[in-house]
């Protein structure tokens, strides 16, 4: 029996044919080898690498040159609505020290990003200085930057002189009439410009920057914020345009708008998309190109990867006096990376076997046309295994299981925006929030789970499952799907209430 392969390249030549995990590179099989190599270890691009490597951010760029209706600078959130980032603004020198200290301590950290808290290119000198130093001192760290694109064309050439691996541009529209509903003003040529004209200039610069980067061989990812009723349908056009120009990934993120954030959209009652709407749009935009569904909106944070408690090791006064032997660190890092690669290869083989056993099982059972797909949420801190306590999970990896395969759909975050800001309403308990985040999932896999959440999850029609702790995610999802199939649960349609979207 031919197995369905999620990758679109056809055949198993790309390596892992088992599922969505690890196959994003396969889906990129049409890209030149050099680009695929860049993607392979990148926690933001490769779904599999996401489990093993991490990136970190440094906040060196506080200034911004545009205003977005989903941003409120008072709360220090960046133009791409990166959630919950509390930024301690560093000087370039401090940032470089911090990055090298983290890299020496946490070898999994392979990518350094600058994404704000404003626009990294609005006042480019701070960003460029950080990149300049790191390219020279720590050549094994890849650099990336996120921008709204307004100032991009002016700095493309200088950016390309550094160890820049990719650039993310937030592009929410290609039509100035749509843009006028998203951007109230830009700062351009020493003036504040408002309305349609502002959007027109912004769009022109974004597109120009995109073209220039592609022409110079830099990977470009495009982020879009899905704003229902404003740019939802329009994003399909955006997707078409940016792909045609050579953007290598298009990532659609949900608008997060609450009155508490004090943003235009929040105050004016603009709603964010439901999980369903988001997924539908991501599907529509996917077309023949890999959509990055696992984007965690920059939560793939290296310091967080090894537990929140490590942040204190890298406070400014500690790193200020730290002597780092980076040559030695680099050798150690290379060893760790080699071990990770060996481990990944082994895991791919293993999950491949699990996958085949499911396939043989479905062959034995009379094929049931009604064997419907099931969404499962997984709590994991990384490493590609089910290893997190339900109550500790700040985000869940969502997998879709069918009789044919297991596919990674994306990551959903709990507590999407604020993290404990006292201005946030307490109307909803965090457990309720979590349950709402899991809407549409029928199972949640975790290492352990408390008594109370267990009951509430069950009541919400989501089955908690702690029986697959420390197993590779795909094997666990496959096993649970099989149990569901055997117990006849798949003969019934998904409980109606779960169709309730967030």
């Amino acid at each position: 029996m031919a197995l369905t392969i999620v990758s679109q390249s056809g055949g198993a030549a790309g390596g892992c044919a088992s599922s969505g995990c690890g196959s994003s590179t396969d889906r990129l099989a049409h890209l030149p080898e050099a680009i695929r190599a860049k993607v392979n270890n990148h926690p933001c691009f490769s779904e599999d690498a996401h489990h093993h490597y991490a990136r970190m951010h440094v906040a060196v760029a506080p200034a911004c040159n545009i205003q977005c209706h989903y941003c409120n600078r008072k709360y220090d959130c960046s133009n791409e609505s990166r959630p919950g980032v509390v930024s301690e603004v560093l000087t370039p020198d401090q940032a470089v020290k911090k990055v090298m200290a983290v890299a020496a301590t946490i070898p999994q950290m392979t990518v350094l990003g600058i994404a704000g808290p404003g626009d990294p290119l609005a006042n480019p000198e701070r960003t460029l200085e950080t990149f300049r130093q790191l390219s020279a001192k720590a050549p094994d760290i890849k650099l990336c930057v996120s921008t709204n694109g307004l100032a991009l064309p002016a700095v493309v050439d200088e950016l390309c002189q550094h160890n820049i691996e990719h650039v993310t541009i937030t592009i929410n529209c290609v039509d100035p009439d749509v843009g006028a509903k998203i951007y109230p003003w830009i700062f351009w040529n020493n003036r504040r410009i408002k309305g349609r004209k502002a959007a027109e200039i912004l769009i022109e610069q974004q597109q120009k920057g995109l073209e220039m980067l592609v022409a110079r061989g830099v990977l470009v990812k495009v982020n879009s914020v899905l704003i229902p009723g404003v740019n939802d349908e329009h994003l399909k056009e955006v997707s078409r345009v940016v792909k045609a120009k050579g953007a290598f990934l298009h990532n659609v993120m949900p608008l997060i708008a609450e009155a508490e954030h004090g943003t235009f959209y929040g105050i004016m009652g603009q709603r964010g998309p439901t999980t369903d709407e988001l997924q539908r749009l991501q599907d529509a935009c996917a077309g023949d190109m890999a959509m990055m569904r696992h984007c965690r909106q920059c939560r793939a944070d290296a310091v967080g990867m090894l537990g929140e408690d490590r942040g204190h090791e890298f406070t400014l006064d500690r790193i200020e006096h730290l002597e780092i032997d980076y040559a030695a660190a680099m050798a150690r890092r290379a060893e760790v990376h080699a071990a990770i690669e060996a481990n990944r290869a082994a895991q791919r083989r293993q999950s491949g076997e699990a996958f085949v056993s499911l396939a043989s099982l479905t062959r034995r059972l009379p094929a049931k046309p009604e064997s419907r797909p099931v969404l499962m949420a997984v709590a994991s801190t990384g490493g590609g295994v089910v290893n997190q306590h339900f109550g500790h999970a700040r985000e869940f990896l969502i997998y879709e299981a069918t009789a044919q395969d297991v596919r990674f759909i994306g990551a959903r975050k709990v507590d999407l925006y604020c993290t404990g800001d006292e201005t946030c309403g307490e109307a909803e308990t965090s457990l309720q929030k979590t349950i709402r985040t899991l809407a549409g999932c029928e199972v949640v896999l975790c290492a352990r789970i408390g008594y109370e959440p267990w009951g509430q999850l069950e009541a919400a029609g989501i089955l908690p499952n702690g029986e697959h702790a420390l197993e590779p995610i795909e094997e666990a999802v496959t096993a649970v799907y099989r149990e569901m199939q055997e117990s006849g649960r798949l003969d019934q349609s998904a409980p109606a209430q779960q169709r309730l979207s967030a």
Partner: protein, 92 residues
């Protein structure tokens, strides 16, 4: 005459590099304009640079002490609407 930065400034650094008179410096609790140095951008730019990029309404006053960016002018949120939303949040 000189411009002035008052409470509410979020220390975003946007204005500082733009000032043609090097009148703006980082400070605590917020950025400050040196009144002796500020030229109101006269002769250098058609519009005062600090007030043209500042993202926060009300924090930059002109030479007469009037906010250059009054409530609603930058966010587009009508001030009544903002007040109502804030009252509602406080009531929760």
């Amino acid at each position: 005459m000189a411009f002035k930065i008052i409470e509410g400034c979020v220390n975003c650094w946007a204005c500082e590099p733009l000032c043609p008179s090097q009148a703006i410096t980082a400070g605590t609790p917020h950025f400050v304009i040196d009144a002796k140095k500020c030229t109101e951008c006269d002769g250098a730019f058609a519009e005062p640079q600090c007030a043209s990029i500042c993202p926060v309404e009300g924090v930059i006053l002109d030479g007469l002490g009037v906010p250059v960016n009054p409530p609603g002018s930058l966010t587009g949120i009508p001030p009544e609407r903002m007040a109502a939303a804030m009252a509602e949040i406080r009531a929760r």
